[in-house]
């Protein structure tokens, strides 16, 4: 198990490194940041001065090595837009994003998993149909439409919640709700189908024949098995939250990584874009790592291999 974790950790680092390199090269090749920042009317002198100031006049290889050396020390440069440290810019926005995505993810699990279990256990009953109908609704409305619809309903029409900004906790309600509705729909559907599949396995029939109460069959025999594929799905869900954050933060003017990213891309703020992509990648890689480790921890076939334990 230790070796397994170590191998996965190593792989995560390689992915991070490859991302840094790939993003760096692609961004340098995709247009002139000086032109973009200073607009078309800038004088050649101003452009040259800008390039010298930001080290853009050196060769790409040189810039890359410099960037790597700085990045290792936690220095990702300064923002072209306002001259602040990129680290500080991102540092401000990460907690904002987490304050929406983490509660959203927890609520997604808290609603999606029990709803899926209920639907699977009460299969073909009104409860199942209600859960699945809700899931179809949450599933089929795109994030941004849902966000706009929620703003219209609660902020414009009912006037009970603020529509944009982040000054109070009430401001978080609509963005979180938007993320949860879509996430919980996916998770509940998946939980249901996985659990139904597990409940059809011979070992469940064997447990029933042994007279084990149905409640215990669900909790101790079926759920631990259903948890194995579910962990993978939750990993996708967590990743989806980050992607969703880009939309939702923009719609609700929430000053997190997502909206910051959109702004930095539009203004050609190279260092910020680059560091943000890295931050997103780091989040995704840690999610994947967690999923891999949990998957192995839950699944004795991976944890132990095929050899006789004795």
């Amino acid at each position: 198990m230790f070796g397994f974790v170590l191998a996965r950790l190593l792989r995560s680092l390689i992915v991070l490194f490859a991302t840094v390199t790939f993003v760096f090269i692609v961004l340098r090749l995709s247009g002139d940041p000086a032109q973009q920042m200073l607009s078309d009317i800038a004088t050649p002198e101003a452009l040259a001065a800008f390039r010298t100031q930001w080290g853009l006049d050196r060769s790409i290889a040189e810039q890359y090595l410099l960037y790597l050396a700085n990045a290792f020390q936690g220095n990702f440069g300064t923002s072209f837009a306002d001259g602040r440290e990129v680290f500080t810019v991102i540092g401000e926005r990460v907690p904002k994003t987490l304050s929406v995505t983490v509660p959203a993810f927890l609520l997604t699990m808290l609603i999606g998993i029990p709803a899926g279990i209920l639907a699977a256990v009460r299969r073909e009953t009104a409860a199942d149909k209600a859960v699945m109908a809700g899931a179809v609704v949450g599933y089929s409305i795109p994030n941004f439409l849902l966000g706009v619809a929620l703003i219209y309903l609660f902020a414009v029409w009912l006037r009970v919640l603020p529509s944009s900004g982040s000054s109070t906790w009430q401001h978080a309600i609509l963005p979180v709700a938007t993320l949860v509705l879509a996430g919980a729909a996916t998770i509940s559907r998946f939980t249901r189908s996985t659990l139904i599949d597990v409940l059809g396995q011979p070992y469940i029939a064997a447990a029933r024949a042994d007279g084990i109460p149905e409640r215990e069959i669900i909790l101790r025999h079926a759920l631990p098995n259903a948890a194995i594929p579910l962990v993978t799905m939750l990993g996708f869900g967590a990743g989806g939250m980050l992607g969703g954050a880009v939309f939702v933060e923009t719609v609700f003017a929430w000053p997190g990584l997502g909206s910051g990213f959109v702004r930095a891309v539009n203004s050609g703020d190279l260092n910020v874009v680059q560091a943000m992509i890295l931050t997103f990648t780091a989040f995704m890689v840690s999610i994947n790592l967690t999923v891999d480790i949990l998957y192995a921890a839950l699944n004795p076939k991976i944890r132990l291999g095929n050899h006789d334990a004795s």
């Binding site: 070796g3 397994f4 291999g305």
Partner: protein, 332 residues
């Protein structure tokens, strides 16, 4: 004697097993030093328990997996020398029938389409002609043409396996490997498939390798048999003489494990204990840990196949293996 249709020499397949990403790998020899000759229209049974390497052998013979050592020749041409274009011609002349008929069939296609597909994929007929050929082949396996438009889930297990056989035989292959082709079926359905295979073999220019763990069925389907134990052939010979007088203690154990229909034969102690133990195969006879006749020599010296009567046996003590008692004698 005819030149062999299929010839294997020194065939070996080793799998590298790792229990974890950083664990040391272990080599597992699935098939070890197997020689095999099959003449046109000859039928051979490969018998062994799960883990004996019999399925791997079947895949090696058809070139579906490359050997670690040794070679397979079909019609005199070694698999290793075959170029991509030759493989297509080889595939047209050979076929594989596997155990689970439901997963071998595409649930989205009618059985008529699936049997016809093989014909037009090899451009042997247009779609209309392919359908006619498929219908004729299905007829031969006892499925009327009315069933052509059914989907696999609408058929019984026995009917599905007949569809699989029809698809395997529709191109009139010269060699078919049946890998546990009837094992998942009820005894009554097995009897149907046996009857069909026997009649098809009469009509076709077909040689086949029948891989199975079921000693009762294989007997009615093959001329020769090879008994596999942990990747090695321990006994081979004419089917009737092996069954009448097994010379390897493992063959004898297999035969006497088969439950008889004689109600007086009851409560018979199992002839061998334990499971296959791949860990012990390194030196000496792999069967010795379970063998009632094992002596010191069996641990030190790996027995080679040697000729006894009409067949070949890899056992130091082949001469001491007692004949199988008649069922009635065993009661006492």
């Amino acid at each position: 004697m005819n030149p062999p249709l299929l010839q294997a020499r020194g065939l070996q397949k080793t799998f590298r097993l790792r229990s974890g990403p950083l664990a040391r790998s272990v080599d597992h020899v699935a098939v070890d030093a197997i020689d095999l000759d099959l003449a046109p229209r000859e039928r051979i049974g490969i018998v062994g328990e799960s883990g004996s390497g019999k399925s791997t052998l079947g895949r090696l013979l058809l070139g579906l997996t490359p050997p670690s050592a040794g070679e397979v020749r079909f019609d005199g041409v070694a698999h290793a020398d075959r170029r991509p274009g030759d493989w297509k011609a080889f595939r047209r002349q050979t076929s594989l029938v596997q155990q689970n008929p439901l997963s071998a069939l595409n649930p989205q296609m009618t059985i008529g389409q699936q049997v016809a597909e093989a014909v037009w994929v090899h451009r042997l007929a247009d779609r209309h002609g392919a359908r006619d050929q498929a219908a004729a082949m299905l007829e031969k396996v006892g499925l009327s043409a009315e069933l052509m438009d059914r989907f696999p889930h609408q058929m019984s297990g026995g009917q599905r396996q007949r569809v699989v056989i029809a698809r395997a035989l529709v191109l009139s292959p010269r060699l078919v490997v049946f890998d546990e082709a009837v094992s998942a079926l009820d005894v009554s359905v097995q009897a149907q498939v046996v009857a069909i295979l026997r009649s098809l073999w009469q009509q076709l220019d077909l040689a086949y390798v029948f891989i199975t763990h079921d000693l009762r069925i294989v007997r009615h389907l093959v001329d020769r048999i090879a008994v596999l134990y942990l990747g090695r052939v321990v006994e081979t010979g004419d089917i009737r003489s092996v069954y009448a007088r097994p010379r390897h203690p493992y063959t004898r154990a297999l035969l006497s494990s088969v439950p008889s229909l004689d109600p007086r034969v009851r409560n018979v102690a199992p002839p061998v204990q334990g499971d296959l133990d791949p860990g012990k195969a390194a030196r000496g006879c792999a069967f010795r840990s379970r063998c009632p006749l094992a002596i010191e020599r069996c641990a030190s010296e790996t027995p080679r196949l040697r000729r006894i009567d009409q067949g070949h046996v890899a056992c130091h003590r082949a001469e001491d293996v007692r004949p199988l008692p008649m069922a009635t004698a065993e009661v006492a």
